[in-house]
């Protein structure tokens, strides 16, 4: 079954591979509470106690890590889809 053309499937393939690599890595960095990514967390402007900030930040870090890995998993699906489409397209052109 063919849905996308050769260019779109190639594009999907590249973005999927890129997405898997980068999002898995970013997930790891979120998971180990990387300071460089603190600005990308859904946090409030101010917290009144240190403990409140730490719990919120830890929760956000973990949540973001899981979100990154979820996105990476979705990209595995798109990778499979694009690869299948790419294979179909290359077989059509070969004939």
């Amino acid at each position: 079954m063919k849905i996308c053309g050769p260019k779109l499937s190639l594009c999907g393939l590249i973005i999927s591979v890129w997405g898997i690599v980068q999002l898995v890595l970013m997930g790891v960095f979120f998971y180990i509470n990387s300071v460089a990514l603190i600005e990308d967390l859904p946090l409030e402007e101010e917290y009144h106690t240190l403990e409140a900030f730490y719990t919120a930040a830890n929760r956000a870090y973990n949540q973001n890590a899981y979100n990154c890995w979820i996105a990476a998993c979705i990209y595995v699906l798109t990778l499979l889809l694009s690869a299948q489409q790419f294979y179909m397209n290359s077989r059509v052109t070969a004939n």
Partner: protein
């Protein structure tokens, strides 16, 4: 010195070829592709040359081949391209080839003519078929109308008598009736035909006006498009039928139809006739279809057979044509026994060329060997840089500015390193660099396959041609990205930051902004081992300020080193061309000027970095560090510097003030030396030569002056000998222009290198903006749905990253790098006044699709 640093040494040679052997020898040289022939009869018209006839025959053959190619492409038959290049056939084989092509062309033309006639026939029949079918509908409607509601309408047109008279044929009698039975006025006639659909509205209006509304037009579209037999286009047409009364109207209607190029077809009035005719038409269409199919089959067979050999034939014909074209450039000996050619030859390849000539002679069976004779010349030889697939792209960048003068220093080998490096300074990002390097690497790995599938896509060809440049630029960008500690605008903390946080909880809670003091336990004491400390990524309020100072300084440092390197290259040129005057009165003052002013500026930066630190005691603490820019401005303008804050010193080291004054004065003193030194020396030498007796002057001083006086073109030691000496005033003016250009240039060029700073800052900022404005949105989603949103946001961010940051920013950084090389670097030593060596080579001719050979016609 290797051939990469300077162009090849060339020699002008005379070549004597025996008439019989000339063809074979030239063919061998064409396969070799190392010889550039000169036109020995430039004033002879192209039609008066010796081998005009042969060239013309080749042209004719090429035309036939192109016709065949067009037909093959039209049918979508794949052409076999083995990529091999058959040898140029013997002249006698030309007749065979001609005969083959002639036969093929005639056959094809005949088939095409037949097919066209058949198609025209087919079109007519199909139109007729449609007319019969559509008009049937009209007639049926009419009959139905009479029987039912619109009887009154019919009555208005046709009287009772008419109806009763023609009762046998139904209530309405159309078409020509037996005239004797009828009154002429009431005779309703009709014509039927087809017309192009777009012409129909105008046609209808015209009919209405010309016949004053006395005609009745019905039309119906033919749904399927019909094929125009002459050009094979698909056209839409409509069937029409016009009812009218009387002969006058009939002629008028026919004229209008003719005017609108409508085709009229006879349409019998009786339904039975119509049915019969339709049957006949159908059977004829069937027959025609089989005949057409057979014709197409035959045509296809002919074309498939031709497609197998077409590329091969093209190569052969182009080779023959190129050989005869080259032979036309030769001089004919008086005895008509031999042809004389002049050609530029790389000295290193003379052996190979002689071997090829011997091969050619053997092949032609001639007994007299060809003679290759080196000639003396005062002309500038062409510039020939041997390249491989790696250096080719870099050489192309240099040649795009100007082909090097003969034996001039070639900047290409240095460009291989400096070009990707300066690019990377502007494009420093590990992530973007990796994308670019991967793209380049992919093209390099798939080189053979990609090169084989030739496309006309210009952008792709540019990328593919520069695949090694792209890969190197990407790899160098990854390196500078690591130094800047920048990957998609984030930092990597590989070795652990060398800054510590020593504030307690309450301080952190209460203050909005906090500083880390390098003069305390906040700083470990030694810097981060590689590149920028990742702590700067979190320092949102002074990150840009820090990057600013750092990037501005390194861009000036790189720029000054690059320019000094360029000036040193001019030293190699002067020594190679034995240009002592330029060496002493141009190179030395130029270098001194640049070093004393701008390299000193670079030194000041290093001294400042080295001497001042936050941990140092007062005169060398961080608060006392002077601004280098202000120091430099004060130095050049001889200003007394402003008094520093208490406890600090004005100067960085002892005697700085004195040294600076001396430097500026010496640098300024260099300007008149550059301006006047060389012209004045030349003037003196000329005077001396005039005073002395003529014969002695020729040997030593004249040669030197001759070599030196052409300051504008260091075109070569051999070349300068015998042309007229420039006037003194011109020499002075040239030197003045050069000096002003250099002095002002070194100021503006130094400033120009600041583009490295500006672009790298802009690139880093743009990457950060893209991250915070796009990817952050995906990351900041709360809850589990965030993962799904992140997927889409990431894809969007990825597309923007490639489109804006890698493609557009990469292009802009590329162009700025190109400018830095062409203007700032090459202006220091590069003349670029040569002309390229264009050898006679079959490969080049065939690759250009014969364009070059036909252009030369």
């Amino acid at each position: 010195m290797g051939s990469l640093f300077r162009s090849e040494e060339m020699a002008l040679c005379q070549l004597f070829l025996q008439s019989e052997a000339a063809y074979a020898c030239v063919s061998e040289l064409g396969e070799l592709g190392l010889v550039q022939f000169r036109d020995l009869n430039p004033d002879v018209n192209a039609f008066q040359r010796k081998f005009v006839n042969e060239v013309r025959r080749c042209d004719e053959m090429e035309r036939k081949l192109r016709y065949l190619e067009k037909e093959i492409k039209k049918d979508g038959i794949p052409m076999l391209d083995t990529g091999e290049s058959p040898e140029a056939p013997q002249p006698r084989e030309m007749i065979d080839l001609e005969a083959t092509f002639e036969k093929l062309e005639n056959e094809l033309r005949e088939v095409n003519q037949n097919a066209e006639a058949l198609k025209r026939n087919f079109l007519e029949l199909t139109e007729l078929k449609h007319i019969l079918r559509k008009t049937q509908v009209f007639f049926d409607e009419q009959e139905g109308g009479v029987n039912h509601t619109t009887e009154s309408m019919t009555r208005a047109l046709i009287t009772d008598e008419a109806r009763t008279a023609g009762a046998s044929m139904g209530p309405v009698q159309l078409g020509y009736m037996d005239k004797s039975n009828e009154r002429e006025d009431y005779l309703p006639c009709f014509v039927a035909g087809v017309i192009l659909r777009e012409r129909l509205p105008a046609f209808e209006r015209m009919l209405w006006r010309a016949c004053r509304g006395n005609v009745f037009l019905r039309q119906a579209m033919i749904e399927t498009p019909l094929e125009d037999p002459t050009n094979g286009d698909q056209v839409h047409k409509s069937v029409f039928i016009i009812f009218f009364q009387g002969d006058q109207l009939k002629t008028r209607v026919k004229k209008i139809c003719e005017g609108f190029r409508a085709t009229l077809y006879p349409c019998p009035e009786a339904p039975a006739d119509r049915r019969e005719m339709a049957m006949g038409v159908m059977t004829r269409i069937e027959d025609l279809n089989t005949v057409l199919g057979q014709t197409q089959d035959h045509r296809h067979r002919v074309l498939v057979a031709a497609a197998k050999n077409l590329k091969n034939w093209f190569v052969k014909v182009r080779k023959i044509k190129a050989i005869y074209h080259t032979l036309n450039l030769f001089n004919l000996d008086v005895t008509q026994k031999c042809l004389i050619a002049e050609c530029w030859v790389p000295l290193l390849d003379i052996e190979t060329i002689q071997l090829a000539l011997r091969r050619g002679t053997e092949r032609s069976g001639s007994s007299v060997p060809p003679i290759l004779n080196r000639m003396q010349t005062f002309e500038n030889p062409p510039t020939y840089n041997r390249t491989n697939k790696f250096t080719k792209a870099f050489q192309a960048l240099i040649d795009a500015y100007g082909v090097a003068s003969y034996r001039e220093m070639n900047p290409a080998p240095y460009t291989i390193i400096t070009f990707p490096f300066l690019f990377a300074v502007m494009f420093g990002d590990l992530g973007h660099g990796a994308l670019m390097a991967l793209f380049g690497l992919w093209m390099i790995r798939k080189e053979k396959g990609l090169a084989a599938q030739k496309t006309d896509n210009e952008i792709w060809n540019i990328f593919f041609g520069g695949r090694y440049i792209i890969f190197l630029m990407g790899a160098f960008s990854m390196y500078t990205g690591l130094i800047y500690n920048d990957i998609f605008s984030k930092s990597l903390n590989i070795f652990g930051s060398h800054w510590r946080l020593s504030y307690n909880t309450s301080t952190v809670m209460e203050n909005k902004l906090l500083q880390l003091n390098p003069n305390s336990t906040d700083y470990v004491g030694d810097p981060y081992p590689f590149g920028l400390d990742p702590i700067w990524q979190v320092a949102t309020s002074n990150k840009i300020i820090f990057h600013n100072g750092y990037k501005m300084k390194i861009s000036i440092i790189f720029g000054v080193i690059h320019m000094i390197f360029g000036v040193i290259m001019s030293w190699h040129n002067h020594t190679y061309f034995r240009n002592r005057l330029s060496l002493i009165y141009e190179f030395i003052p130029q270098l001194v000027f640049l070093v004393l002013l701008f390299f000193y500026l670079v030194l000041l930066m290093f001294i400042k970095w080295n001497r001042y630190a936050a941990t140092n005691p007062m005169p060398y603490s961080e608060s006392c560090a002077p601004s280098i820019l202000i120091t430099f401005i004060d130095m050049v303008l001889f200003n007394t510097p402003k008094t520093p804050p208490t406890g600090c010193e004005v100067y960085m080291f002892w005697g700085q003030s004195f040294i600076q004054t001396v430097f500026v004065l010496v640098a300024l003193a260099c300007i008149p030396v550059m301006l006047l030194g060389k012209p004045w020396k030349i003037m003196q030498a000329r005077k001396l030569a005039n005073e002395e007796v003529q014969p002695i002057a020729g040997a030593t001083s004249d040669a030197e002056i001759g070599g030196n006086s052409n300051g504008g073109s260091h075109g070569g030691a051999g070349a300068g000998g015998h042309h007229d000496e420039e006037e003194m005033s011109e020499i002075f003016i040239h030197q003045g222009i050069h000096t002003i250009e250099y002095v002002l240039g070194s100021v503006s060029h130094t400033a120009s290198y600041l583009r490295l700073w500006a672009l790298s800052l802009a690139h880093a900022q743009l990457a950060e903006v893209l991250w915070t404005m796009v990817l952050s949105i995906g990351l900041k989603q709360e809850g589990w749905l965030g993962g799904v949103i992140l997927t889409f946001v990431f894809a969007f961010w990825a597309v923007l990253t490639v489109g804006i940051l890698v493609l557009m920013e990469g292009l802009s950084a590329f162009l700025h790098t190109l400018r830095l090389h062409w203007v700032e670097f090459q202006s220091k030593f590069y003349m670029g006044q040569g002309y390229a060596f264009l050898p006679f080579s079959f490969d080049a001719i065939i690759e250009n699709g014969g364009a070059s050979s036909s252009e030369a016609e």
